[in-house]
């Protein structure tokens, strides 16, 4: 699980163009939005498309994303849960 979360973190950094960030600077439980990494609503939409493209998981309601995208770990957990079903 942790290995997967670390891989996911790197994917997110690339996908959101966070070039200046080293993966080590982002903790798996660090908040991604608001005060944390400072991501915003546009990043949330980017992440929705990323999940669908990369993992085939669809999030219909952007509001739902708020909880899912709290941290790298919550996204990893969400993917694990939805991959099998």
């Amino acid at each position: 699980m942790e290995a997967f979360a670390i891989k996911l973190k790197e994917q997110i950094i690339t996908h959101l163009n966070l070039e200046d960030l080293e993966p080590d600077e982002v903790g798996l439980d660090d908040p991604l939005f608001g005060e944390g990494l400072g991501l915003d609503s546009i990043d949330a939409l980017e992440l929705i498309v990323f999940l669908e493209k990369e993992y085939g998981i669809k999030i219909e309601n952007p509001e739902e994303g708020k909880q899912i995208f709290e941290s790298v770990n919550t996204i990893a957990k969400f993917i694990e849960e939805h991959k099998k079903s």
Partner: protein, 399 residues
């Protein structure tokens, strides 16, 4: 001689009418222009209703008789509305006085060039190369100016959804500074797959009829059209003895500087634009009789704009309504079309309904006006807010 700026003519075309008269009739009867898509060729044809002008490009060409075959829907719509405005202002010879034409658009010739460009980007071939020549925004202005015979001054503004409010503002300022004596100002935008896919990727397009200022609003409907008004200097109106429709008393543009697309929760940008317009017009908040709000129907816009109104007017928010449930969001043309509606409100001493409002927004202390009714109107504010934090307000006043 005063510095007053007079509105002496207007023209509009949108999904609720091909001219001012038809548009007013729809506003009066409460007839929405939002309907299933007919002309735009897109995968989303069945999915999204839109405010489409109910004529094909060929039918539009028949009305305007353009001199060039290389033409976009944006140009056709703009030319029809601008011609109506010039005619209604009784302008026979555009070169008699120093006259300008300032248009606004967010897509330019994209309704055609998107297909040509995409073909080029995918296959590297261009069959319809000349259409790339009218891809840019300025080309639409020049083609319309040439059709109108105006050559003293031309310019184009593109500030997303506030574009044509800003062309009206620029025109008024050019007259005040004595650079022009009269000017035709407004904007035009056609429906495109580009904007439809864009707003779709932002997840703010409503699959049903939009419901501005409703607590359960889901998003906007896209629309298309054009709206232009004619502005003249006080000196010119005195000289020609023309009877103006109303006065453009004030205008304000500010930047929210909050986020590239979203409005600030407090609506500071919109509030400051309205304050500025009232200051220039020398009008107090309690004198405002009607506000044609931007009211797109997106969760973010309507909440923020309503908060801006409460910031200025407290618990005395004037009669207000969004007319976007009629026309859809016509993007760069919205400010021009809604300027025409604002003049109509003054002319007819009437306010228009904010249609499809069932449940008011709980955070707001006011409910937009829900039916067409006559009402004493002296000063009208018209708001236009856009991407890039762009906020504009225009203030129209009775003669």
């Amino acid at each position: 001689m005063s510095q007053d700026i007079w509105v002496t003519g207007m023209g509009t075309i949108s999904s609720i009418g091909l001219n001012v008269e038809e548009s007013y009739a729809s506003l009066l009867k409460g007839e929405t222009g939002i309907a299933p898509m007919r002309y735009l060729e897109t995968r989303f044809k069945e999915e999204y209703p839109v405010g489409e002008v109910k004529l094909s490009n060929d039918e539009l060409k028949h009305i305007i008789q353009p001199t060039t075959p290389i033409i976009s829907r944006t140009i056709l719509l703009g030319a029809i509305a601008a011609k109506e405005a010039v005619k209604s202002a009784g302008i026979h010879d555009p070169n008699e006085f120093r006259t300008g034409f300032i248009s606004a658009t967010s897509v330019g010739g994209m309704d055609i060039s998107e297909n040509v460009y995409q073909e080029y980007l995918t296959n590297g071939t261009i069959d319809d190369l000349p259409y790339m020549g009218i891809h840019d925004c300025g080309s639409s202005t020049e083609i319309i100016a040439d059709l109108l015979g105006i050559n003293d001054f031309v310019s184009t503004i593109s500030t997303a959804c506030s574009s044509s409010a800003n062309s009206i503002m620029f025109g008024a300022r050019l007259i005040k500074q004595g650079i022009l004596e009269r000017v035709i100002v407004g904007g035009t935008d056609a429906l495109t797959r580009f904007t439809l896919n864009g707003f779709n990727s932002l997840k703010i397009v409503d699959k049903e009829q939009c419901q501005p200022f409703d607590a359960n609003r889901r998003g906007l409907n896209l629309g298309e059209g054009a709206g232009f008004i004619v502005l003249e200097s006080d000196a010119l109106v005195q000289k020609t003895g023309k009877k103006p429709l109303c006065k453009l008393g004030g205008y304000g543009n500010t930047n929210d500087a909050f986020h590239q697309t979203a409005s600030s929760p407090t609506g500071d940008g919109a509030a400051n634009a309205m304050r500025k317009a009232m200051k220039i017009a020398n009008v107090n908040p309690q004198d405002i009789s009607y506000i044609n709000v931007h009211g797109t129907g997106t969760p973010n816009n309507d909440l923020s704009e309503g908060n801006a109104l409460m910031q200025i007017f407290g618990d005395q928010v004037p009669v207000c309504s969004s007319t976007k449930a009629f026309t859809g969001h016509t993007l760069g043309a919205a400010g021009g079309i809604e300027a025409v509606f604002s003049v109509l409100a003054l002319q007819n001493q009437a306010v228009f309904p904010n249609m499809y409002l069932d449940t008011p927004i709980s955070e707001h202390n006011f409910i937009p006006n829900q039916e067409f009714r006559h009402h004493e109107i002296n000063h009208v504010l018209s708001n236009s807010l856009g991407f890039g934090g762009n906020c504009s307000a225009l203030l129209f006043s009775k003669n």
